[in-house]
């Protein structure tokens, strides 16, 4: 295979003029100067560049233009320096490695759906160029005596074809294991993150920067924009900051909740069971929420409460929604580490009646629980908790954290609804990017989780299903249609085992 590739590249070189061949040769000499990776990694990166050059040749891009797009300056000194940095985990991230189990870890996925099919050869180069600007992401999770931490890990970060179930656990335990993956499928570029690395906002900055780099490689001129980072700028220390110590509150609170009801239906062993994207007209969503005199988050949270009630057979108890809150709203920050807390909306089952009746209560709860004071108190709690237990060795913290997370954790909530808001992007994106979506990885006991992301004309409401029972999403659809939405539904087929599929075939 390698020989075949070499032959293809040799053949490509043989068709070049002497001048172009010399340019390519100089380019690879210069590439070598940017490399200090092990030879096997260097060869793979060289092969990536060869593939990109052959792609450019196939689509009629001149050698000179191709080489300028692939300029080795974009590699910077990142691959030419031995790894020496390490990063402590922020206070929110510390729980994720402690609470993960075999087959379960907190993973989320952000995707950009382009208008044209993704070119893998260029996406690989885009990742190679982009990752150097995010040194915090170019790391492996390690175990310290007191806490886990992120250790710099220089390697070729490879893209993967999206041929598996989204948000599957990552093998973060292996030597040089990474805590994120970049995947592609047809027109979609996806990045999956282990939550210990970053939160939705940090993930979005990475995705936006990756997409911008990819588009530049395809020849699109992308202007500078605050939503993305310049890949050739030096990383800023503020991007790695643990911001939890900034809380203005000295009162700890926020984690005291009682158990919530769960939707009915057996949690599937293979999770997620299905991914559903409800594509909604963003303008219509805004006006509908406004007609109820609430925000989009309040409006959809209300519908989620109603759909959750519909999806449970329980007769008493509370339905509770966990809403992640970006703390950058309260404490402006450039950090790419986790800086998210959550607010919980909770209503007794019997009091969840109609949208118009409960909307005001949801609005009131949201306003109260996401107030600056309440969020600051919760932030202080998280910081205090991490500070109080820091002196205990990890082998003591780890089992205790697992037990506490098992007893509390997801059991406090029926579902999660994460709204990352309106994606801000350079104007050139509108011609090349159709929409975005955001998937929360499967939870251990919550039957469904929801997210919302808005870009241009589309708001994508994503439901991650962990059970076969379709009640929740069918009720969501019914409620949305009742409010006049025309919903386009995209998603995955059911992720089922072969055995079940063959049984179905027989039954048919």
């Amino acid at each position: 295979m390698q020989k075949k590739k070499q032959t293809a590249f040799a053949e490509y070189l043989s068709y070049l003029t002497n001048e172009d061949a010399q340019r390519v040769s100089d380019f690879f000499i210069n590439f070598k100067q940017h490399m200090l990776l092990p030879l096997s990694e260097e060869r793979k990166m060289r092969s990536d560049l060869e593939n990109a050059l052959m792609y450019y040749n196939a689509v009629g891009v001149s050698v000179e233009t191709a080489l300028s797009r692939l300029d080795n300056q974009n590699l910077g000194g990142f691959y030419a320096r031995p790894p020496s940095l390490y990063y402590t985990l922020d206070d929110a991230a510390k729980i994720y490695p402690l609470s993960m189990k075999h087959g379960f870890m907190t993973v989320f996925r952000l995707s950009a759906i382009l208008k044209d099919e993704v070119v893998p050869a260029l996406l690989q180069i885009a990742l190679t160029f982009t990752i150097k600007r995010f040194p915090r992401f170019a790391t492996s999770l390690k175990k310290g005596f007191f806490w886990h931490y992120l250790d710099a890990n220089k390697q070729r970060y490879a893209i993967e074809e999206d041929d598996s179930v989204p948000c599957r656990p990552m093998g973060v335990g292996k030597t040089s294991a990474k805590s994120f993956r970049v995947r592609y499928y047809k027109t979609r570029i996806s990045v999956e993150f282990f939550h210990t690395l970053t939160d939705g906002r940090g993930g979005l900055v990475f995705l936006q920067t990756l997409v911008a780099t990819y588009l530049r490689l395809t020849g699109v001129s992308i202007s500078e924009h605050p939503a993305l980072l310049n890949i050739n700028d030096a990383p800023d220390l503020a991007e790695d900051a643990n911001e939890f110590h900034r809380s203005s509150s000295t009162k700890a609170s926020g984690f005291k909740e009682k158990k919530a009801l769960q939707m009915s239906g057996r949690v599937n062993a293979d999770r997620p069971y299905q991914i559903l994207h409800f594509k909604l007209d963003s303008q219509k969503l805004k006006t509908t929420a406004k007609s109820y005199d609430v925000t989009v988050t309040t409006y959809l949270s209300t519908l989620i409460l109603l759909a959750s009630k519909f999806a449970t057979e329980a007769t008493k108890g509370d339905i509770s929604i966990q809403l992640p809150v970006d703390m950058r709203r309260y404490y402006p920050s450039e950090t790419l580490a986790n800086f998210t807390m959550y607010a919980g909306i909770r209503l007794p089952l019997a009091e969840i009646t109609t949208p118009s009746e409960i909307m005001a209560r949801v609005k009131g709860q949201l306003a109260d629980k996401t107030s600056y004071e309440k969020m600051s108190e919760m932030m202080f709690s998280a910081h205090k908790m991490a500070r109080d237990v820091r002196g205990f060795p990890l082998f003591l913290k780890s089992p205790i954290a697992k037990i506490v997370y098992g007893f509390l954790g997801e059991k406090l909530f029926t579902t999660t609804f994460s709204n990352v808001g309106v994606v801000s992007a350079p104007p050139e994106f509108s011609e090349h990017v159709e929409s975005y979506d955001f998937i929360l990885g499967p939870h251990a006991i919550n039957r469904a989780t929801c997210t919302l992301v808005t870009y241009g004309a589309w708001s994508t409401l994503t439901i991650t299903k962990n059970t076969k029972d379709p009640s929740f999403e069918e009720e969501m659809l019914r409620l949305l249609e009742k409010d006049g939405f025309t919903v386009t539904i995209e998603g995955s087929a059911l992720y089922e085992s072969k055995r079940r599929l063959s049984t179905k075939k027989l039954a048919a």
């Binding site: 999770l141 390690k142 335990g173």
Partner: protein
């Protein structure tokens, strides 16, 4: 509800590992309880301790390996520690053989194995130096304590060999990694 499928079709294969865990998670505790009950009812010695520790060791090695830093050095170190504890338990239950000295020899063998795995690909494995250091320190403590209490027994040299090997490994890693050795230690003790 009509769903326009935009993800690749994925028929999940039967997960044999998960099936094995499903069986083991029921079978292992059952086997441990049965052996303990039989031991209490009919036993003359505490042989069930050997069974229970063996089951625990197997569980950790096969069904529930470490999720962070599951590398060849740490696997070798952890396996050696589990086997050593098993030998010590066997010795405590059946004391008529030089169990502690054999345990020290196993520690020595484990140190050689871990060090070989570590040094055979130092460029990649240097990030896994911490499990090797911890294992070497545990080996020194174990062998030193054994030596103090059993210096007059035959095969006492096994403990000296284990201590020497552990010290040699620590020194070698310091010499090879130089300043990075201390940087590595600093990272591992972040509060």
């Amino acid at each position: 509800m009509k769903v326009n499928v935009v993800y690749p079709q994925k028929n999940l294969r039967r997960d044999l590992r998960r099936l094995a865990i499903y069986v083991a998670v029921r079978l292992f505790p059952l086997a441990a309880i049965v052996s303990l009950v039989v031991n209490i009812l009919y036993g003359t010695s505490w042989w069930s301790a050997i069974v229970i520790w063996s089951l625990w060791g197997l569980w950790q090695l096969i069904f529930s390996p470490t999720l962070v830093e599951h590398n060849r050095t740490s696997i070798a170190a952890k396996t050696t520690i589990n086997i050593t504890i098993l030998i010590v338990i066997i010795y405590l239950v059946y004391p008529d053989w030089p169990g502690i000295e054999v345990a020290a020899l196993v520690v020595g063998f484990g140190l050689v194995t871990s060090a070989t795995l570590f040094f055979s690909n130092i460029a990649r494995q240097k990030q896994n130096v911490f499990p090797l250091i911890i294992f070497s320190l545990i080996a020194i403590v174990f062998a030193a304590v054994s030596l103090i209490f059993r210096k007059d027994e035959p095969l006492g040299w096994a403990m000296i060999v284990a201590i020497s090997l552990a010290l040699a490994i620590i020194l070698s890693t310091i010499i090879i990694l130089r300043i990075n050795y201390f940087k590595e230690l600093k990272k591992r003790f972040i509060l």
